[in-house]
């Protein structure tokens, strides 16, 4: 049916819902409108949101089964919650300069780079700590093996380029 997508509320909401369903289905292995609860983070984040772990847990509390957590999240519970998240533009993305400032805040000597140890310490002991795997993975692309340092400005530029712009309109 060739309907013109309206610019009105309904059109926007419908489009958002379609996007959410698509993302959800990518992780729906059994094709039964459920995903493993551990994948919710990936789904939410790939829809353009940047929640902290704490915020993610809050969201999960809203979509999990009330009586007994089954380990699975149903689309029908997820959809309204996620739609609201996107409509409200919650968990906004982090602009490049803010990210840069964050790295600079960790760079005590203001030398433009962090040593491996410094970065590891901050990432695994502070904030919402990385797992060993996460740390290793970040180091694999961030660390300059010759100097054992992370030149964060370059690192950020490299990472940002990789990301095609795909935020919901």
């Amino acid at each position: 049916m060739a309907e013109q997508e309206g610019n009105g509320e309904d059109g926007a909401v419908a489009e958002i819902e379609k996007k959410i369903i698509e993302a959800f289905e990518v992780f729906d292995h059994e094709c039964n409108k459920t995903v493993d609860v551990r994948e919710i983070g990936s789904i939410v984040r790939s829809l353009g949101c940047f929640p902290t772990e704490a915020e993610l847990h809050e969201l999960l509390a809203k979509v999990e089964e009330e009586e007994e957590p089954t380990g699975y999240i149903h689309l029908e519970k997820f959809l309204p919650v996620m739609t609201k998240v996107l409509l409200n533009r919650s968990y906004r993305p982090i602009p490049e300069d803010v990210l840069l400032h964050a790295f600079e805040a960790l760079d005590e000597n203001k030398c433009g780079y962090l040593t491996k140890d410094e970065l590891v310490k901050h990432m695994t002991e502070e904030g919402e700590p990385f797992t060993e795997e996460e740390m290793e993975e970040m180091l694999s692309s961030a660390l300059d093996p010759e100097t054992n340092t992370v030149h964060y400005r370059d690192y950020i530029s490299m990472m940002i380029v990789d990301e095609p712009e795909d935020l919901p309109q």
Binding site: E5, C31, E53, L99
Partner: protein, 740 residues
């Protein structure tokens, strides 16, 4: 200690600082986790792209079927040349009786020159021979054709005495290692042997089919596996896979099996053009490596394949088959049927004699009844198309009728099997299919037996309950957890091990851990696409997995790089598919653009694309990689499609609608070319090319003048000797990434 009411500023400062650091850490972590999640999504989307394109061959299947139907309806050969041409399409190659096979593939008269530096084999084989072979292959040496043929003869002798279902016991050799698809990837086999050890009296192996095709060293893998099979017959077990099938290897076929062949092998075909150098079908590999004796080797291998056992049973508890099961799988039947009769599961069955007798008599005067050796399907017709071959050269109509009847029967039968039947009446053709050589045998029909094998070689598990036809692959079925449960209960089994499907981690459980898929070809789609794995079972039958990835490059790449690389490959394939449907897409877009602005919303773009391609992909997720420039949320679709077109190599002289057709039908065209190219040389004459093209274009309703064909030819560098390398031709129509 004098401190005022205010906090020490130093303390406050450092508190602030650590608070800042804390916040900064949270922010960075938050950002990074989002990046990783996005990568994960990209990885899964990429996988979905590969799989949906790989398996979505239904359209091709039907198209090829239509093409041949069309040929039968419309094509009346108007010259002897055309008759030869068409008869080559429809007449099978030779099918050998045993004695003939021995004679044809004789090796004893072959001399091994002194200049040969490769390994020498003598029989019976010893472990030293195996190590010599492994070493030789590592050095990229080639085994002399004489030894290859000798090995194949011995292998066949050995396999003939094996039952259809091999039995393995863990109390005999403690641990059994099961490997899945290898697909000619020798490096993976080396890696498995390196990590797990070579086969030996204390190390049992089961190789679960699909040793060949796609990878470039299928022959080496066969040689190694057969060698170990002969040295350690009690410890090494091979199961037949769907690729251990002549039809699939050759990717072309004969009239009899043409439609089912095309269905299944097109699945094979659609995998390749997009993802790897398409040239390496197993048959081609053999012909390239053994220019003089290649055909003999292929013939022997064809025969060896049909003697491969169909399944393996460990401790009577774990069933290992290549594909899967169906709701009609009957292990008792499987044990009893004569497996060697099914040279190719994709070839049709013998036609009803009465329909053919007249023509056969005319054709070559022989009685084309069942030959005692059990070579199934076609009666033996002479190889070379000679005037005497096709019925009544003078009578065009009769010829057409003969072709039509022959192909029609097969199409009918194949249609019935894949349930797209058009005919109302059940032909009694195959009802009396009891083997003529074995009247005491249980009277299952050939068709029933055939289905048993097809099911275990081609089926895939599905999450939903039930059992339905595997229309995507064109053979076997999709079986649900209930089917699995029934089989396990019926035969008192614990679980099934199968292969047949590529899995990202090299293995995957499903059906409540009752079905294990094991896949041993790492980097199957592209470097970094997936790991390979093998599984070890001890007497407790608890599976232990070992994963690997046979490419040093893959290890040094970061996760991002690996994913990007594989992603690039997938998107290239996807863009090609989009291009191939340009006209349909334009119509679909126009339906959303009533005011003819040339623009549509991105949402409509997604819906329209899915309605044309039917790939079931998450288009909104994929959009950023496919659509680069938009203006306030709207897409200028014409220029987007133009950009897609720009990506292919310079084909300006060819009309765009023609290009589209070529792209869309490349796999079918390839099949047709291969049918014509009987000596597997990869070359067809210019005239044959011309004829093929004319036939195809009239079927596809394209206006193509002779000039048009000439342009087509000239657009590619053809050999001056009047032959066309059709691989080059097809290669020329592959989308190449636009160099920025």
């Amino acid at each position: 200690m004098g401190s005022g009411s205010s906090v020490n500023p130093n303390y406050k400062y450092s508190l602030q600082k650590s608070e800042n650091a804390f916040k900064a850490a949270v922010l960075i972590q938050r950002w990074y986790r989002r990046y990783v999640a996005r990568l994960e999504m990209r990885r899964r989307c990429t996988w979905r792209i590969f799989q949906s394109i790989e398996y979505a061959c239904e359209q091709d299947q039907i198209k090829l079927h239509n093409f041949f139907s069309y040929l039968m309806d419309h094509f009346t050969p108007s010259s002897s040349k055309e008759r030869d041409f068409i008869s080559r399409m429809f007449i099978s190659g030779e099918s050998f009786k045993e004695a003939e096979l021995e004679r044809y593939c004789d090796y004893e008269s072959m001399e091994v020159p002194d200049s040969y530096t490769g390994p020498h084999l003598s029989f019976p084989l010893l472990p030293d021979h195996a190590t010599a072979l492994l070493e030789a292959f590592k050095q990229k040496q080639q085994l002399h054709a004489r030894y290859v043929l000798n090995l194949l003869h011995e292998t066949r002798k050995h396999l003939k005495q094996l039952p259809n279902i091999s039995h393995v016991s863990t109390c005999y050799s403690e641990e059994v290692t099961v490997c899945g698809d290898l697909h000619g990837q020798l490096d993976d086999l080396f890696l498995i042997f390196y990590k797990n050890g070579l086969p030996s009296p204390s190390k049992s192996y089961v190789f679960n089919g699909d040793f060949v095709d796609r990878g470039k060293q299928s022959l080496e893998i066969l040689i190694i596996l057969f060698t170990f099979l002969l040295i350690y017959p009690k410890e090494v077990h091979l199961n037949r896979g769907n690729h251990e099938d002549h039809m699939v290897n050759l990717r072309y076929g004969f009239c009899v099996g043409l439609i089912t062949m095309s269905v299944a092998s097109l699945q094979n075909l659609t995998e390749l053009p997009f993802f790897c150098s398409y040239r390496y079908g197993f048959a081609k590999e053999v012909m390239q490596k053994y220019k003089v004796h290649g055909k003999k080797i292929l013939k022997m291998i064809q025969n060896v394949f049909c003697w491969l056992p169909l399944a393996t049973l460990i401790d009577q508890k774990v069933l290992i088959i290549h594909g899967g099961v169906s709701d009609t799988t009957d292990l008792d039947m499987l044990e009893k049927i004569q497996r060697n009769k099914f040279i190719s599961v994709l070839r049709g069955k013998k036609r009803k004699e009465s329909n053919r007798n007249v023509e056969i008599q005319e054709v070559n005067g022989e009685n084309a009844e069942a030959d005692p050796a059990g070579n199934e399907a076609l009666p033996s017709l002479p190889l070379q198309p000679r005037p005497a071959q096709a019925p009544s050269m003078a009578n065009r109509l009769e010829f057409s009728r003969w072709v039509r009847q022959t192909v029609q029967e097969q199409i009918e039968w194949c249609r019935r099997l894949v349930d797209i039947s058009e005919s109302e009446d059940e032909e009694p053709t195959y009802s009396s299919m009891v083997s003529l050589t074995d009247l005491d045998a249980p009277c299952w029909t050939r068709q029933e037996e055939w289905k048993q094998i097809l099911d275990i070689l081609w089926s895939d598990p599905m999450p939903q309950e039930g059992c339905r036809e595997n229309k995507v692959r064109g053979g076997g079925c999709y079986f649900g957890p209930d089917v699995t449960a029934k089989i396990l209960e019926k035969y008192n089994l614990q679980f099934l091990i199968r292969s047949h499907e590529c899995k990202q981690e090299g293995y995957e459980f499903c059906h409540n851990r009752k079905v294990l898929t094991i896949f041993s070809a790492s980097n199957y789609y592209e470097i970094g696409s997936n790991r390979g794995a093998y599984v070890k079972l001890g007497p407790d039958l608890v599976p232990h997995f070992v994963q690997y990835q046979a490419n040093k490059t893959a290890h040094t790449l970061t996760m991002t790089q690996r994913i990007s690389r594989v992603e690039e490959s997938a998107f290239r394939a996807l863009r090609e598919k989009l291009f191939a449907h340009t006209s349909a897409l334009i119509s679909a877009f126009k339906a959303y653009d009533k005011d003819n602005t040339g623009r549509i919303t991105l949402s409509n773009w997604a819906t329209a694309v899915e309605s044309v391609l039917h790939l079931g992909l998450p288009w909104r997720m994929l959009r950023p990689q496919l659509v680069r420039t938009t203006e306030d949320g709207m897409l200028e679709y014409k220029s987007w499609l133009d950009d897609l077109a720009m990506e292919q190599r310079s084909q300006e002289r060819i009309q765009s609608s023609l290009l589209e057709v070529i792209y869309r039908n490349r796999s079918n065209l390839e099949t047709i070319f291969r049918i014509i190219d009987r000596d597997h040389s990869g070359l067809i004459s210019f005239e044959e090319f011309h004829q093929t093209w004319k036939l195809f274009s009239s079927h596809m309703n394209i206006e193509l003048t002779d000039d048009g064909i000439n342009d087509l030819v000239r657009s590619i560098d053809f050999n001056k000797d009047g032959n066309i390398d059709f691989n080059e031709f097809l290669e020329a129509f592959r989308l190449v990434k636009q160099t920025q």
